[in-house]
């Protein structure tokens, strides 16, 4: 029962690109009726289509509205696929949730459906689940495991708190999603009991069994799972991280922003200046840069930051915004953060990464994303 679903994926992308909900749902359900396993429809049609949506947005071929519309249609298609099949219960209970502040729910939602198809009793708690909400749910239902999705690395500190809280009430955590790193390195660092790069792998991993009671990581000997995840989530954060988190608002204060703006105006004066709209966007970009810097400090991994900088530069370049603006912004941050040697190191590496993107460009060239940081890539 292997069948090339590439065709279907193309049609699916076309339908969600038009926001054609009925068309997309009919296609997905139709495939199941033709005998395509529901899991394949989720993982070989909907997920790749959705991945492509992220790429189309990044390369500025699709507007943000179109991207959101497509995602909303995919949500419905996933629900329709889930409603079409009645799996036989074969496993225990699993609570599936997105990390606090994580709104990219679709990859996690797809994982929830795959687990349901594999016979798990799944409680899907949705996007951005606050810790106390999740823990209350765990006490009330007593699941065997929590599957925690995190797509954006900026949510890692919150995800870490959630992982620790779940383990403290005796429930192991499987981490998934691009936010935990392409190789799951942050899942390991933050003490998750297991990590899976994709929904079907997550299902296999859970079927193989997790510890009934996870080890706690403070001072306790390592009790991580066999796949290497969970070797103690101790050394994260640090003083500079705490400082940056506390002073995020100052870092993004008007004073700093206006310094960036002044620098930008100066740099672009010969080209007729920088429009107000562009300046506003730059301020938003700086916010993201600050958040990724903070996340990179938390896990002490420069590549998290430089990958993001490279990705941002490409997204900007696709929108005819020169990557030089990122270089300038990073420099201002570095000048301001006089007391943070490690952050300055990361910023210097970020400058180097941004510089590498400062080639003369043709504004409409499609971009290849090397760092799948921001879109639905975990499935």
């Amino acid at each position: 029962m292997t069948r090339d679903l590439g065709d279907a994926t193309g049609r699916y992308l076309e339908l969600i690109g038009r926001g054609d909900e009925y068309g997309a749902v009919d296609l997905a359900v139709g495939l199941i009726d033709e005998g395509v396993p529901a899991e394949d429809v989720l993982l070989k049609v909907i997920a790749p289509g959705q991945r492509r949506v992220g790429e189309l947005w990044a390369s500025n071929e699709w507007s943000v509205a179109r991207e959101h519309a497509a995602t909303a249609v995919s949500e419905r298609a996933v629900a329709a696929v889930g409603g079409r099949v009645r799996p036989t219960p074969a496993h225990g209970r699993v609570a599936v949730a997105c990390a606090d502040g994580e709104y990219h729910a679709l990859p996690t939602r797809i994982m929830a459906e795959v687990l349901r198809l594999r016979g798990w009793h799944v409680d899907f708690l949705g996007a951005s689940v606050p810790g106390p909400h999740l823990i209350t749910h765990l006490h009330q239902t007593g699941p065997d495991v929590v599957a925690l999705g995190c797509t954006l690395a900026t949510r890692l500190p919150r995800a870490h708190a959630t992982i620790a809280a779940c383990q403290a009430v005796g429930i192991p955590v499987l981490a998934g999603g691009a936010g935990f790193g392409a190789d799951g390195r942050y899942a390991r660092l933050l003490g998750a009991d297991a990590w899976a790069p994709a929904a079907d792998v997550a299902a296999d991993r859970l079927a193989a069994g997790l510890p009934f009671f996870p080890a706690t990581h403070e001072g306790a000997p390592d009790g991580g799972a066999g796949d290497g995840a969970g070797d103690g989530g101790a050394r994260v954060g640090g003083e500079e991280y705490a400082y940056l988190t506390r002073h995020r608002a100052d870092l993004l204060s008007r004073v700093v922003l206006s310094r960036v703006m002044d620098t930008l105006r100066e740099a672009h004066a010969p080209m007729g200046g920088y429009s107000e709209r562009q300046l506003e966007h730059t301020s938003e970009d700086l916010e993201h840069i600050a958040d990724f810097l903070i996340a990179a400090m938390y896990v002490d991994d420069a590549s998290l930051f430089t990958d993001f900088v490279t990705w941002t530069c490409r997204v900007l370049v696709a929108r005819n915004v020169p990557a030089e603006s990122v270089v300038l912004g990073l420099r201002v941050f570095r000048d301001v953060l006089t007391d943070c040697p490690r952050a300055r190191e990361l910023l210097a590496e970020g400058v180097a990464a941004a510089r590498a993107c400062c080639q003369p460009i043709n504004g409409t060239q499609p971009i290849t994303r090397t760092a799948d940081l921001q879109t639905e890539t975990s499935v």
Binding site: A65, T136, R158, A161
Partner: protein, 584 residues
């Protein structure tokens, strides 16, 4: 392997790998290997052995972890060469647990094989507890029991933890029986050493009689006396198939909050030592702690069940499909653990049977905000929603409904029953249009997203409900073309303080701008995006939890409800390729 390290027989050496190779093999082995001569002196030790026991030195007598501490002078060859056992024994040396195995090598020589045991929880069940000193074991038990039994507020997980503790420290099998909930059936949880996680099941309550003392323990009559039971005639259900005959049983009640929380049965296989006095003490301790944990968890479960029933009606409703339009709503309560608050929205579909004399009317939506936050506010919000449902049986005009609602709120005995709300009757018009008859009572007027991406505020207003005897209302009718959206929201959205600098109000302008950026989106995506922007604003991008902690500011409930004209096959709005923010 045996004899391979020996140098006594040269005939073998020629046929085997060279001595150098043998040495290299030993050198790199993960297991520590130590060879002693007939006098108990070390003649050889590989690096792994020295790593585990640094005191080992060639030419000196084998140090203590290898040789059990003995009285000085009694070190004779016979005493350092105990009979070899297949399993060896576990010793704790410098904080490491080392498994030591001895093999006799002939001519009085002895070889010691050392390997470190990972102190993993899962392996605890396999350790033979008799080999640990009583004191360490007891400390470990207390730590582990405190840690695991206090972790969960779920009765089943507490019961599972209790059985695992029983198997890890006391017995080959541990079974917790929860008191019969329905009088006829009781749930059980069982752990067996060496067999994965605990399994669970249900039994007829009458089966308890088959284990001596169990019925009394479950009813609390058998008051913590505990005791060694004669296992004669152990019922089949107690231990899994293949467990073998049971040799010793301990049955203990789990003391609860005045009523028993269940019972625990600990079983050892025939041939194992009986439960001694120390074991009995530990078993009672386990029962006491498990009982306290299970009964606290049961209380919590009872409370949360009641809670769930009570708040069930206060949660926002599932939004129905209405012909010719799409609805989408989002509600975020300020209090994190509870999902309820003073903001609310609801939908009232027309009655299915108009011939019963009930007023015929179009579907109606409301979104409102009552004074206050949390459960108290949620109760009032629930009353408002329910009152409207009743009033709709008699009246369908939005302005008249609000007047009646005002009177009912004024008559309410609870103080501060102030409510602001937006009410809209939804009518389908030709050409895919939707008409909204809007009435607003003290609430921020709705916003409209037009097809061209412009956003306007609807010019509609009226007084707050529950404050004055007479209210004034200026209702309007709004026309939505296909793809256009009317957004109802609460002031929690616009009055959210946060932003990149932490102290700024989100404000109407930002909301309008955000809504404008949603042109062409389905209603679901639109409200989700607005909620996301608002949450990020509140937390300065830090996520709900940390933002709440660090922001320290008072947070308000937030509600959004969108009506979009047209259905499923959405026409993608004007394609904007303008630059938008970096986070899709």
């Amino acid at each position: 392997m045996k004899g391979a390290t020996g140098s006594a027989d040269p005939r073998h050496r020629a046929a085997r790998p060279s001595l150098d190779l043998m040495a290299a093999l030993l050198e790199r082995a993960a297991e520590g290997v130590v060879l002693c001569d007939a006098d108990g002196l070390v003649t050889m030790a590989n690096p792994a052995a020295v790593r585990l026991v640094p005191q080992i030195e060639v030419g000196l007598p084998a140090p203590t972890p290898l040789v059990p501490p003995a009285t000085p002078g009694s070190v004779t060859p016979a005493s350092v060469t105990p009979a070899s056992t297949a399993e060896g024994r576990s010793v704790t040396h410098d904080g490491r647990v080392i498994r030591v195995r001895v093999e006799e090598m002939g001519e009085g020589r002895a070889a010691w094989y050392l390997s470190e045991e990972t102190p993993r929880r899962t392996q605890k069940t396999q350790r033979t507890e008799t080999q640990r000193t009583e004191k360490t074991q007891r400390t470990e038990f207390l730590l582990e029991a405190a840690h695991r039994l206090s972790a969960s507020l779920n009765p089943h997980r507490c019961a599972r933890a209790a059985t695992e503790l029983g198997v890890a420290f006391l017995s080959d099998a541990a079974i917790v029986l929860l008191p019969p909930a329905s009088r006829r059936r009781m749930e059980w949880v069982r752990a067996v050493s060496g067999r994965g996680g605990p399994d669970e099941g249900v039994l007829p309550a009458a089966a308890a009689a088959e284990v001596p003392g169990l019925t009394d323990a479950l009813t609390g009559l058998h008051n913590g006396a505990g005791g060694r039971q004669d296992p004669g005639g152990t019922p089949d259900w107690l231990v899994p198939e293949g467990f073998g005959p049971v040799g010793h049983l301990v049955v203990l009640p789990l003391p609860g909050n005045g009523v028993p929380a269940g019972a625990i049965v600990l079983a050892r296989r025939a041939g194992r030592p009986p439960f001694d006095d120390d074991d009995q003490v530990m078993a009672r301790d386990l029962a006491t702690r498990a009982g306290a944990a299970i009964s606290a968890a049961s209380l919590f479960r009872e409370q949360s069940t009641i809670n769930a029933i009570l708040i069930g009606d206060l949660l926002p409703p599932e939004l129905p499909e209405i012909e010719g339009m799409r609805l989408a709503g989002r509600l975020r309560a300020s209090q994190q653990a509870g999902a309820i608050g003073g903001d609310f929205y609801d939908v009232y579909l027309p009655e299915a049977a108009p011939e019963t004399g009930i007023v015929e009317r179009p579907p109606l939506i409301i979104l409102g905000d009552v004074c206050g936050k949390g459960a108290r506010a949620a109760v009032l919000a629930g009353q408002v929603r329910h009152s409207l449902r009743t009033l709709l049986l008699l009246e369908s005009r939005p302005d008249r409904l609000l007047e009646l609602l005002n009177r009912s709120l004024l008559a309410s005995p609870s103080p501060n029953s102030y409510v602001t709300l937006v009410l809209a009757a939804l009518r389908v018009a030709p050409g895919g249009h939707v008409l909204l008859d809007l009435a607003v009572a003290g609430h921020p007027p709705p916003l409209v997203l037009r097809r061209d991406g412009t956003v306007e505020e609807v010019d509609v207003r009226g007084s707050i409900l529950g404050a004055l005897k007479r209210i004034s209302l200026w209702p309007v009718t709004l026309d939505l073309a296909p793809g256009e959206v009317c957004l109802l929201y609460s002031d929690g959205i616009t009055e959210a303080f946060g932003g990149p600098r932490g102290r700024e109000m989100f404000g109407e302008e930002r909301l309008k701008e955000a809504l404008a950026s949603c042109a062409g989106m389905p209603a679901d995506a639109l409200v989700e995006r607005l909620e996301q922007l608002s949450s990020e604003w509140l937390c300065g991008g830090l996520g709900d939890g940390l933002g709440g902690v660090l922001g320290g500011g008072q947070r308000d409930d937030r509600a959004l409800l969108a009506v979009r004209a047209g259905t499923g096959r959405t026409e993608t709005g004007p394609t904007q390729t303008g630059r938008t923010e970096t986070s899709p």
